[in-house]
């Protein structure tokens, strides 16, 4: 296949042996990228208003794109190239790519919220359009012709009617544009696109499939030590004593202790692992966690909440006709782990006056201030460089491992690599927060939602918090800003359908049992589970088909289209739920759910077909049908991969996942105590992507996660007549609901 440069960290030699279509890697454009070197940051601008921050036309005719968003496996490396190449007028194979390096890339914000293409990509499109306009103007001057007669394509500017062409490199090769992003620079007509909208292969795939890709976990520096951090046996425990003699038989192993931060370092990795296992330390007792089996009641009864009305529409409390039906239900989504397959890893080289940290963080730019603060260094002296880790889906332990490495490197005066264990990752990654929702409402006999009232109990984000507080600075007593950041977990708590009276009230909790972090589609799967389950309950109360009920309440044509298409994929037969399965040993049913992500982004409708085994309570998802409208699609196969992943990952969360804890610590610290979806659980996926080339791209990394729980709950209800309202939908819960 026509692979592009697999990885911008490849050496020139590796690139050259990669095949004819491989892009020559312009080392000159990114001098600091040499493996394992401490080259000073190139003097490259990084202001997010400047064209030169995003694009450089190199002497050899290639163009380097500098992207502040990072590729976590979602395919930005090709999608951003497609956007830039299309708008600039050059082959995608001549685009080189640098990402997530605070010294070289503009700060485009954290790679999160499914906004990399929708926001970051549009900045790059704007930069490329501005650059194209400038290249054409330069060529017009040079050729003494009107700019209107010139076009940029295939890396040259030429008269559209034919004539002499000027290469981009001849116009600005090696130089700078010195221009601000121009909102007036004309954008190409999507009808003329030749790259955007094509399923071009992701350039990192061949190397990932053959073992030549350098993951964070594979990165090495000369003179580097291997470290393991020993986290306490209870979350709030203090370190009382360390028996350094307990590792004296391990040659070269050393203990590093800074207040309650405890680690071992060694010349080789296996010695570090052994030292961490052998080291004896005494910790104070601590048991400050709430009882897990009373968590729902604890959240609901929390007296120390701040109430906020998110939505107030209509006049609640109006008298309803006797034929109207009133319902109420409660839903709970537990704390979940990001569940990265590779535990976190980072490498840092911290000297007295400067720090370089290699990290798989989704927010290298944002982390810069945080790291500068706890290291006590000026911001300009701290550089973070992104390398791919295992998928992190919000924030796993990557950033904590980076802080571990930075603190240890400074302590030992050498580069340090920190690798977390499986127990570290499951035990200490920040968790998706718990979410409790109550919904009540009334529906008229003809299927109109008269009243809707959502109440949520969720942890509140701390205003202005720069970053989620990290473990190592806290343990070592270093300076960092404290607070919570669970993500935008309050969104989509109200129905997307016509309703006379709507209220959404949040009871903001001041804390969370375990350190929270955003987890893919933050909060929305829980809110959609509640909202779309309750809509289904209202439809059933009105005796209406679930698809029909939803369509009656919608006027947005794009909403209606995704629901119709998902229903068509399901060969949906109109009838109210539940189906009569009274005597069946295996009960089959279907359900649907819909979301307009954040009420203003991607539209998703999802149908699900399930089997429920009466005797065991086991739910088997047979088929998932998804219609997905994210506006303009840059790379259809990339979007499809994201939708597949969103569905399967969220199915795993809904069917199986709940962090277990006792009063002191997380106890679900491996894959047997925190199981996730396996091949035997994977359903047939039927995905239909709706491309709208003339609409803005809306994001594809998260939206399809959102309706998964509700579609499943509604299918289970259709099959069994029983409602599951607490995640995960374990066989035990299903059996209990069937009684």
């Amino acid at each position: 296949m026509g692979a592009l440069t697999a990885n911008h960290r490849l050496t020139r030699r590796e690139v050259l042996k990669g095949g004819a279509l491989t892009v020559a890697f312009a080392l000159a454009a990114v001098p600091a990228r040499a493996l394992g070197q401490h080259a000073p940051a190139a003097s490259h601008p990084v202001g997010s208003e400047d064209v030169d921050s995003f694009l450089a036309v190199n002497d050899d005719g290639t163009v380097t794109v500098f992207c502040g968003k990072v590729d976590l496996g979602q395919g930005l490396r090709i999608a951003m190239r497609q956007i830039a190449a299309e708008e600039l007028g050059i082959g995608v194979g001549r685009i080189l790519y640098v990402e997530g390096d605070t010294a070289l890339t503009p700060d485009q914000g954290r790679t999160s919220g499914s906004n990399s293409i929708a926001r970051g990509g549009m900045q790059i499109r704007r930069a490329a359009a501005t650059a194209r306009k400038a290249l054409i103007a330069l060529a017009a001057e040079r050729l003494h012709v009107d700019a209107d007669v010139l076009v940029a394509s295939d890396g040259v500017v030429r008269p559209s009617g034919g004539g002499p062409a000027l290469r981009f490199a001849d116009l600005v090769g090696g130089g700078r544009f010195e221009l601000k992003l121009d909102p007036q620079a004309p954008l190409k007509d999507p009808a003329t696109y030749t790259l955007v909208g094509k399923s071009l292969p992701r350039p990192d795939v061949p190397a990932k499939c053959t073992g030549s890709f350098t993951f964070m976990q594979d990165f090495r520096l000369n003179g580097m030590l291997h470290a393991r951090v020993i986290r306490p046996p209870a979350i709030g425990a203090r370190l009382i004593a360390v028996d350094r003699s307990s590792i004296r038989t391990l040659a070269g192993a050393r203990v590093v202790q800074i207040k309650d931060f405890l680690a071992v370092v060694a010349e080789d990795e296996w010695t570090a692992v052994r030292a961490a296992r052998m080291l004896r330390a005494q910790w104070s007792p601590w048991s400050g966690l709430p009882a897990q089996d009373k968590l729902v009641a604890t959240l609901r009864a929390d007296p120390d909440v701040t109430d906020q009305k998110l939505v107030t529409k209509g006049e609640p409390g109006a008298k309803r006709p006797e034929s109207a039906k009133a319902l109420a239900a409660s839903y709970f989504w537990p704390m979940q782990s990001h569940g990265s397959i590779g535990p976190a890893c980072a490498v840092a080289d911290v000297g007295v006056d400067a720090a370089t940290v290699w990290t798989a963080s989704q927010g290298t730019h944002g982390n810069r201030d945080t790291f500068a603060r706890f290291l006590g260094l000026p911001r300009e002296k701290v550089r973070l460089i992104y390398l791919d880790g295992a998928g992190c889906y919000g924030m796993n332990g990557h950033e904590d491992a980076a802080a571990d490495a930075a603190i240890l490197s400074r302590a030992v005066g050498r580069p340090v690599r920190v690798q977390w264990s499986r127990e570290d990752e499951h035990g200490w990654d920040p968790k998706g927060p718990p979410q409790l929702l109550d919904i009540s409402g009334t529906v008229s006999s003809d299927g109109r939602i008269l009243d809707w009232h959502t109440e949520m109990w969720i942890p509140q984000a701390t205003q202005g918090l720069p970053d989620i507080p990290l473990l190592a600075p806290a343990a070592a007593g270093l300076d960092q800003v404290r607070g919570l950041q669970p993500g935008l977990i309050w969104q989509n708590g109200d129905p997307p359908y016509a309703a006379d009276n709507v209220r959404v009230l949040v009871h903001w909790l001041k804390d969370a049992p375990l350190r929270p972090a955003p987890i893919r589609s933050p909060g929305k799967p829980a809110n959609c589970l509640a909202v779309e389950s309750f809509v289904d309950e209202l439809a059933a109360a009105a005796g209406l088909d679930p698809v029909e009920f939803r369509l009656r309440g919608l006027s947005d044509a794009r909403a209606i289209e995704v629901i119709r298409r998902a229903a068509a994929l399901m060969k949906w037969q109109s009838r109210p739920s539940p189906v009569n399965n009274k005597d069946a040993a295996v009960m089959r049913g279907r359900g649907i759910a819909y979301v307009h992500y954040k009420h203003n982004e991607t539209y998703v409708a999802m149908g699900m077909q399930v089997e429920v085994e009466r005797a065991s309570g086991r739910i088997r998802v047979e088929r998932v049908a998804c219609a997905h409208d994210c506006g303009q699609i840059i790379n259809p196969d990339g979007v499809r991969a994201q939708v597949e992943g969103s569905i399967l990952q969220t199915l795993s969360r809904v069917l199986m996942e709940e962090v277990q804890f006792d009063r002191s610590r997380v106890t679900s610290v491996n894959w047997s105590t925190y199981p996730i979806l396996r091949f035997s659980d994977v359903p047939v996926l039927d995905i239909e992507l709706i491309d709208r080339p003339t609409q803005p791209p809306l994001g594809a990394g998260e939206a399809a996660c959102t309706p998964v729980g509700a579609a499943l709950a509604n299918a289970v209800f259709d099959a069994t007549g029983a409602r599951l309202r607490t995640v995960p939908f374990t066989p035990q819960r299903m059996k209990a609901a069937l009684v």
């Binding site: 296949m1 692979a3 697999a6 042996k17 990669g18 095949g19 976590l72 496996g73 979602q74 395919g75 292969p201 992701r202 795939v205 061949p206 190397a207 990932k208 499939c209 053959t210 073992g211 030549s212 890709f213 350098t214 993951f215 976990q217 594979d218 040659a251 990795e269 296996w270 692992v273 052994r274 569940g339 990265s340 397959i341 590779g342 535990p343 791919d388 880790g389 295992a390 998928g391 889906y393 690798q419 499986r422 196969d637 991969a641 597949e644 992943g645 969103s646 399967l648 990952q649 795993s652 491996n670 894959w671 047997s672 996730i676 979806l677 396996r678 091949f679 035997s680 994977v682 996926l685």
Partner: protein, 154 residues
Amino acid sequence: MATYDVRINGSARAIESSDPEQPLLYVLRGLGLTATKFGCGLGQCGACTVLVDGRAVRSCLLTIARAQGKTVTTLEGLGSISAPHPVQAAFIKEQVPQCGYCTSGMIVSAAALLAAQPKPSEQAIRSALDGNLCRCGTHARVIRAVMLASGQAD
């Protein structure tokens, strides 16, 4: 310091280790064969899968002492970008990996399956790979790729 003779990706290697309990995983990665990934160290996730005498084995659980005299093949030993193994070629064609951290173990497990069973059913593929975890949700593509590699799809 004891020496262990292990054949790795076609080359006879004399591995020195002071600990007979050192898992093969750390030996391989120490040799620069970093395609083999540390995932759990417990034999639960499959990220560290390698072929040992042709069978899929979790290298995090196989000690260097027990690897003595064995033939080990890692992802790097299966093929390269210019000359990929059929499973690697199929994974590339189907654009399987997202983050790619589980991919090495998936491909090695699938290669072992196809060596033993050249035309596995979809059910057999699911069973053979059930111990390989993926968090990005690439499962459907993995199954398609293995069907493709076994000549049962195009």
